[in-house]
């Protein structure tokens, strides 16, 4: 900290940059946990974060060595990594370091060392004295509706609200008289308080970093709500700087109480200066070795996949898409749909499947019938100008009296506990032995009522609500439909019915349920988008415009919206009644095919669930999977994005016939329709932030589930409906819980684009933000030349040819056998857990 002049605004800004940016849990947006370091290259960035904050940013040396011993990391790959990065001459030296040399594991993060001196010099535990009440105040202030009595004056800001209470009540949050006076004095500024606590302006910033990072969860939440006030429904005025001032006041209060009147500021007599938090330090040898291991770990998998893809192309069983497809289905790129698409293609060989981000190119806010708020249904970075309203919903929402807040009232609680107690016992018994959907379970299908109606077409652009246009006009619709169809290359050979299948996830007892929904819909089910898109694509006037632009959709073709529940493996179709007679007949047949595919998908998923026997009758498996999604006792209703590692951008033929074990995001794109890459840019733009964000969040939550993840779910306590903490006095836990990441291999995302490398290069260079993801190595990029099937890896700002090392890829003509015989992990320790992943197979 060399700046001598303390600038509160600058420091607050700097601090906020490093804090976790997760917003309240009702919407779960995946993002890079180390977003603050994203301007640096991957390895220097993560190791810097490691030195400053003490995070584990890779697996441990021992883990890598064990993975090597079990064959998960391959020797050829290790050698290639060393050759590429260190030169072949250094081979033996680096191998020795990787395989045998022992390194110290003792290390002290830089954060917290200045503030640790309270304990060293004064023998007091300031955190214990301040945090419980501070967290309680913050939680109560931000509470969305747990407490029966809300924190008053939440419209005035945290500090003023506290002042109001202090002024008008007989109780006080402070023990020290001095602090109570300071609270109301005009000098109650951050700087003056720091003068009392720290004493030396050189260390103000460092002290604040130390202070806020002892509870990064709460600090991050305050900062996130300040930046996104609409991330909570019950509006709360809060400023991060208020939190700092309040905390400093509470620290003075605690110091006055613990040490009496006579205490000196922390830095009054500083003998040895604390370390500079952000000092640049070269990467150590140990870190270098870890990064070699991580590369080897990643490439052991990538190489295997690429070998499979290459083999598939060479065999030229490029399973050509059927000329007159029976039906077509557009899915989300989500890697959980990867297996469902495979099964559908298996049960209906003459169908076609496509993938695109699950908001289907239609961005809007959605207002459910009687809803008091809007929900955003598009990627987070987009701010829509449109509103879709639901009306004519025939049913009312059900309630569950066991959640009644009145049971916490001491008199009403008396009657409620007597009356509802026995009911609770009965309900618990049912929940254990006959789990079924109930109002307390987050139900993907409840997001939009199946029989409700939507106001989609805008007749008059002046029809607005709160600055949003209600519905889309015909030209606006046409643009969106055209963009989407062209991006996925669906411009001819339309089948009679084109399904637009969104996805969502139902789960019980799961505060992180939003993390299982569609990432492209801001962590919500995409049903409305699927329905809206289908409406647009069916609109005769839209079709007219499209035909003028050369995109002819036959009159017999109809689009049908649907929602796939990735937890229960059910599909619901919307607006079936609009189908023409012939299509209705086809739809009835197709539905059965979908059901068969869902059965198979359920079976494939069941192999990772201990409670389900994968060899059981397929109907039973399906029923068990369904039960799982409504079971209160099940902390893993589904496994979310666990194991995600790949992202394909290209024709389905690139991967059709490969068993990828649900690890690949798949975006349809046809290079033949886009020789210049004009469409490619729009296709690729959302991939790094959305898929890369998911991947990196899983990565960091996996490598340090304690500090960057949320730890095990089992002790979680819901705080103010905005987050979870471990105990009544604990800090919020951002990140992903253990149960979501235990199947995940922490490797970066590899995007594989089917196009000529020069076109891909030109495309990504067009947008610096996008380009940076690849140049800095937060996401890997590979191009496959459609003519030669040669791979090109993007490295040092250019594409260089890549030859897969692995030659033989296993073949299987029976995926079910493969699934039935797969091993289940012994423990969730990475070396055991990764054994659950199945290798790539060529399937017939």
């Amino acid at each position: 900290m060399s700046s001598h002049k303390f600038n509160p605004e600058h420091v607050v800004h700097h601090l906020k940059h490093y804090l976790p940016s997760q917003t309240p849990l009702k919407d779960f947006i995946h993002h890079n946990s180390l977003h603050a370091f994203q301007e640096m290259a991957f390895y220097p960035a993560i190791f810097k974060a490691r030195k400053i904050f003490g995070y584990h940013v890779t697996l441990s040396m021992n883990d890598y060595r064990k993975l090597y011993q079990t064959g998960r990391i391959k020797l050829e790959v290790v050698e290639r990594v060393i050759t590429n990065r260190k030169g072949i001459a250094e081979m033996e030296a680096w191998k020795e370091k990787m395989f045998r040399k022992s390194y110290t594991t003792q290390r002290l993060p830089r954060i917290g060392r200045l503030r640790a001196r309270w304990k060293e010099q004064f023998h007091i535990d300031l955190d214990n004295a301040v945090q419980p009440l501070l967290f309680r105040l913050l939680c109560s202030y931000l509470d969305q509706g747990v407490a029966l009595w809300h924190f008053p004056f939440e419209d005035k800001g945290l500090l003023d609200a506290v002042r109001q209470i202090e002024q008008n009540s007989l109780g006080s949050f402070f023990k020290s008289k001095r602090v109570r006076q300071m609270l109301f004095s005009p000098d109650c500024s951050m700087e003056n308080l720091l003068q009392i606590v720290v004493g030396n302006p050189d260390y103000y910033e460092l002290y604040l970093f130390d202070q806020q990072f002892t509870h990064r969860g709460w600090s991050g939440m305050v900062s996130a709500i300040e930046d996104n006030p609409t991330s909570v429904l019950y509006p709360k005025k809060i400023a991060f700087s208020d939190l700092i001032v309040l905390e400093l006041l509470m620290e003075i209060d605690a110091l006055d109480t613990l040490l009496g009147k006579k205490w000196e500021p922390l830095c009054a007599n500083l003998s040895t200066p604390p370390p500079d938090l952000f000092a640049d330090e070269p990467i150590s040898e140990q870190e270098e070795v870890l990064s070699l291991w991580q590369d080897a770990f990643e490439w052991s998998y990538y190489d295997h996949v690429l070998a499979g893809v290459q083999l598939l192309q060479q065999q030229n069983n490029k399973k050509s898409q059927p000329q007159n497809p029976h039906f077509q289905a557009i899915f989300c790129i989500d890697e959980r749909e990867c297996s469902l698409r495979r099964h559908i293609e298996q049960v209906a060989p003459d169908c076609e499947t496509y993938g695109c981000p699950g908001f289907f190119g239609v961005e809007f806010f959605f207002q459910p019938h009687n809803g008091k708020f809007y929900e955003k249904l598009c990627p987070v970075i987009v701010t829509p100008k449109y509103l879709i309203k639901e009306y004519n919903v025939p049913e009312k929402r059900k309630h569950d009296f066991l959640y009644s807040k009145y049971s916490h009232h001491f008199l009403l609680g008396f009657f409620i506990s007597m009356v509802l107690g026995i009911w609770a016992a009965f309900k618990l018994f049912l929940d254990l032995f006959r789990p079924q959907m109930s109002p307390a379970i987050s139900n993907a299908f409840a997001h939009m009522h199946i029989n409700g109606e939507l106001l989609i077409e805008n007749q008059n652009p002046n029809h607005t609500e709160n600055g949003l246009q209600v519905g889309f006009t015909v030209p606006e619709m046409a643009t969106r439909v055209e963009n989407l169809l062209r991006s996925i290359g669906l411009i001819k050979n339309f089948a009679p019915v084109v399904y637009v299948v969104a996805h969502g996830s139902s789960s019980a007892n799961n505060p992180h349920h939003g993390a299982h929904d569609c990432g492209a819909c801001s962590g919500r089910p995409g049903s409305v988008n699927a329905r809206v898109f289908s409406f647009m694509a069916n609109h005769p006037k839209v079709r007219e415009i499209l035909a003028q632009k050369g995109l002819v959709i036959p009159d017999t073709t109809q689009f049908l919206g649907a929602l796939h529940d990735t937890a229960s493996d059910d599909i619901v179709y919307y607006d079936e009644k609009i189908l023409a007679k012939t299509n209705q007949q086809l739809h009835r047949e197709n539905k059965e095919l979908f059901e068969d595919a869902l059965d198979l998908n359920a079976k494939e998923r069941s192999r990772r669930f201990a409670s389900i026997n994968t060899k059981a009758d397929i109907r039973k498996i399906r029923a068990d999977i369904r039960k799982r999604s409504v079971s209160f006792f099940e902390p893993r209703p589904e496994l979310g994005h666990g194991t995600n590692a790949l992202c394909f951008v290209g024709n389905r033929s690139l991967t059709k016939g490969l068993f990828l074990d649900r690890r690949a995001f798949m975006n349809s794109y046809d290079y033949r329709t886009d020789p210049t890459g004009a469409i490619l840019l729009n296709v690729m733009k959302p991939l790094p932030p959305v898929c890369g964000g998911i991947n990196l969040e899983y990565y960091f939550s996996r490598v340090d589930n304690y500090k960057m993840g949320a730890g095990t779910k089992l002790p979680h306590n819901v705080m103010g409906l905005i987050g979870v903490a471990n105990s009544s006095d604990g800090d919020l836990r951002p990140g992903l819980p253990l149960q979501m990441i235990e199947v995940h291999d922490p490797i970066r995302l590899l995007i594989i684009v089917e196009h000529y490398p020069d076109v891909v290069l030109k495309t990504i260079q067009a947008q610096p933000d996008l380009y940076q993801w690849f140049t800095l190595g937060w996401v890997h990029l590979m191009a496959i030349d459609p003519n030669t099937n040669q791979f090109y890896f993007f490295k040092n700002e250019q594409f260089v040819p890549y030859e897969p090392l692995e030659k033989g890829i296993a073949k299987s003509d029976d995926v079910h056998q493969l699934i039935e015989t797969a091993k289940e992990m012994d423990t969730n320790y990475i070396v055991d857990a990764t054994k659950e992943n199945l290798p790539v197979h060529l399937i017939d």
Partner: protein
């Protein structure tokens, strides 16, 4: 004849517990199978037993089964008792444990402590059954200790994080106070009735022994007060309430069974069970009603402003239990039983589904949100509301109160002795002890009467000082351990001078201590030899690398603190009996010693084996998480 089957109510869970220790953690199916089989067998037995009981005239049953100690001077035995209340509590306990265990089978899947969880659940099941089927205080006390310790282990279930360990120790210290008050209750009942009493003979004893009671009015008043403190601690009544929300550190299912329902309601059971002892004591009854109602109101207020779900449930459960206290004191026992049933089930359910509150309430808010009104600060009612709000947020300073009056004093007093070198102290006091022992064996007859009269108190005082030193020791666990053992030796010596004919009692008392002490010492030596730190300045987290050693040391610590796994437990009971009813200072000192030595032992265990592991090769949690 039916009564001879009563011991099986405790025996079945005991067998289940022992068997559940055998599998390894990965054998989840087997572990759950054992737990489930235990619970189902137990329920089946209870069912058959109950049917048979109803076919009889269904009077209360009592069965004296097993002598822990039999001598001319004292008898200690296990005694069982079965009546309507046993049946009621038993049915509910079994139902809840059955359902929660089933819930946990899936919920706990792949957890590192899967086995540990079920071991503790079965231990709890044993404990709770012992309490409700107990026919005398001694039997009940065993159950009490088992519940306490399984509770302690489940709070610290995530033993590699700081907060669970800190809170487990916090709860353990409050529990320890209750344990000692329980011992004092036993002590006063022995002196009051001149023997170890059973609950079934209580009404008759009270009716016939009026003169004896009138001889000891103080003891007769003290007995229910001791019991009340025990009940208040366990049921988190004012002023002890703040431990309950902080105990919710373990998996949600354990919080549901312990702090939502069964464990926290056991104070109500104790009051009902001992009702005959204080039925006629109007002042006491008024006090119980007052405590109950005050708790109901204040913790109701705290629940009202809580913004975290589990804390809210904890305080609303406490407030209902407050009402139950009042109901019991007013003699409305059927109502109390119904209230208990409803509350236990409701809070269990609410805790188990507490994570789903987020989606339920957010959804509700989405459709029904109306911004709440602020209180008007310019009106008196507004000021009252704001005051109640602020007090509720601060939990009426209850946590601060516990800190100030329970944890801070021993630390502060311990610090007074900080200038005394531990090693020197250890040597000097060991010599004093040797001298005392020698004197007691050889010169007992020749000691001047004055000296002899005060020697018990002096030695007890030294014991307290040693215990304080052990409690505040930071440098070496070996010294702390020696102090713990020395403290117990002084306790024995002090009692020995009090009544010189109790050598076999003392032997019983010390046998467990010595064995446990040797095991603990060996564990520490091993750690030291392997170059691991054994200082107590901070948490060391050795359990991460040495789970087996952790288990051995833990058993030794349980032995050292008089847990019913060694004869020390019996000895503890017996030697207390040798303190006379009029020796208030000696009683106080000995009680203090017992409290402190328990705390010192568990603190030493926790600091060494729990908490974040020091070595940096794996992930370690934040202190605040």
């Amino acid at each position: 004849m039916l009564q001879q089957y009563l011991p099986y109510f405790a025996l079945i869970p005991l067998i289940g517990l022992v068997l559940s220790l055998l599998p390894n953690n990965k054998q989840e199916r087997l572990i759950f199978g054992l737990a489930n089989a235990t619970i189902i067998t137990h329920i089946a037995l209870a069912l058959v037993f109950t049917i048979a009981w109803f076919m009889q005239p269904n009077a209360a049953l009592s069965y004296k089964s097993f002598y822990l100690y039999k001598g001319e001077d004292a008898n200690l035995f296990l005694d069982y008792y079965f009546d309507r209340m046993t049946l009621f509590y038993g049915v509910i306990a079994s139902a809840i444990v059955f359902m929660v265990s089933r819930f946990s089978r899936y919920y706990m899947h792949r957890e590192k402590g899967f086995k540990r969880f079920f071991n503790n659940l079965l231990a709890f099941y044993l404990g709770v059954n012992l309490i409700i089927i107990a026919g005398n205080f001694e039997t009940m006390f065993i159950g009490w200790e088992i519940i306490g310790i399984s509770s302690f282990f489940l709070i610290a279930f995530y033993r590699d994080r700081y907060l669970p360990v800190k809170n487990a120790l916090k709860v353990f210290s409050v529990y320890r106070i209750a344990d000692v008050f329980f011992l004092l209750a036993i002590w006063s009942s022995h002196h009051l009735f001149g023997k170890s009493i059973t609950f079934i003979e209580l009404p008759q004893l009270l009716a016939s022994g009026i003169d004896k009671i009138q001889e000891h009015p103080v003891l007769f008043a003290l007995l229910p007060i001791n019991l009340l403190v025990v009940a208040m601690v366990k049921s988190a009544q004012l002023p002890f309430s703040s431990w309950l929300p902080r105990a919710m550190e373990g998996p949600t299912t354990s919080s549901a069974v312990f702090y939502g329902s069964l464990s926290v309601h056991i104070g109500v059971f104790l009051l009902m069970r001992t009702y005959p002892l204080w039925e006629a004591n109007m002042a006491f009854k008024i006090a119980v009603v007052a405590i109950g109602l005050l708790t109901a109101f204040i913790s109701g207020n705290i629940a009202r402003v809580q913004s975290s779900v589990k804390t809210q449930i904890a305080y609303s459960s406490i407030s209902q239990i407050g009402l139950m206290f009042a109901e019991v004191a007013l003699g409305w026992h059927t109502l109390a039983l119904l209230h208990f049933t409803g509350n236990a089930f409701l809070r269990t359910y609410q805790l188990l589904v507490s994570p789903s509150v987020l989606s339920y309430l957010i959804h509700d808010q989405f459709f029904n949100f109306i911004p709440p009104q602020h209180p008007n600060p310019h009106t008196v009612w507004g000021k009252v509301q704001l005051t109640l709000y602020a007090m509720g947020i601060k939990e009426w300073n209850l946590d601060w109160f516990l800190y100030r009056f329970l944890w801070s004093p021993p630390k502060k007093i311990g610090l007074v002795f900080r200038y005394l070198n531990s090693m020197a102290l250890l040597v000097v006091f060991t010599l004093v002890f040797a001298g005392g022992l020698y004197a007691s064996v050889s010169y007992y007859e020749q000691l001047p009467e004055m000296v002899e009269r005060f020697l018990p108190e002096i030695f007890a005082l030294i014991g307290v000082i040693v215990a304080l030193k052990a409690f505040t020791e930071r440098n070496s666990a070996l010294i702390a351990l020696s102090m713990v053992v020395l403290n117990q030796l002084f306790t024995a010596l002090s009692i020995n001078f009090n009544e010189h004919f109790t050598f076999n009692h003392i032997l019983l008392y010390l046998s467990g201590i010595i064995v446990s002490g040797v095991i603990a010492f060996a564990c520490l030596q091993r750690l030291k030899q392997e170059g691991e730190p054994i200082d107590l300045n901070d948490f060391q987290g050795h359990s991460y690398e040495r789970p087996r050693l952790t288990l051995a040391f833990m058993l030794a610590c349980l032995g050292l603190s008089g847990f019913p796994i060694t004869p020390t437990f019996i000895g503890e009971d017996l030697i207390l009996g040798h303190i006379h009813e009029n020796q208030i200072p000696l009683t106080t000192l000995t009680a203090l010693s017992l409290i402190l030595v328990g705390l010192a032992t568990m603190r030493m265990y926790a600091r060494l084996f729990w908490g974040p592991h020091k070595k940096g090769y794996h992930e370690v949690a934040y202190r605040s998480s």
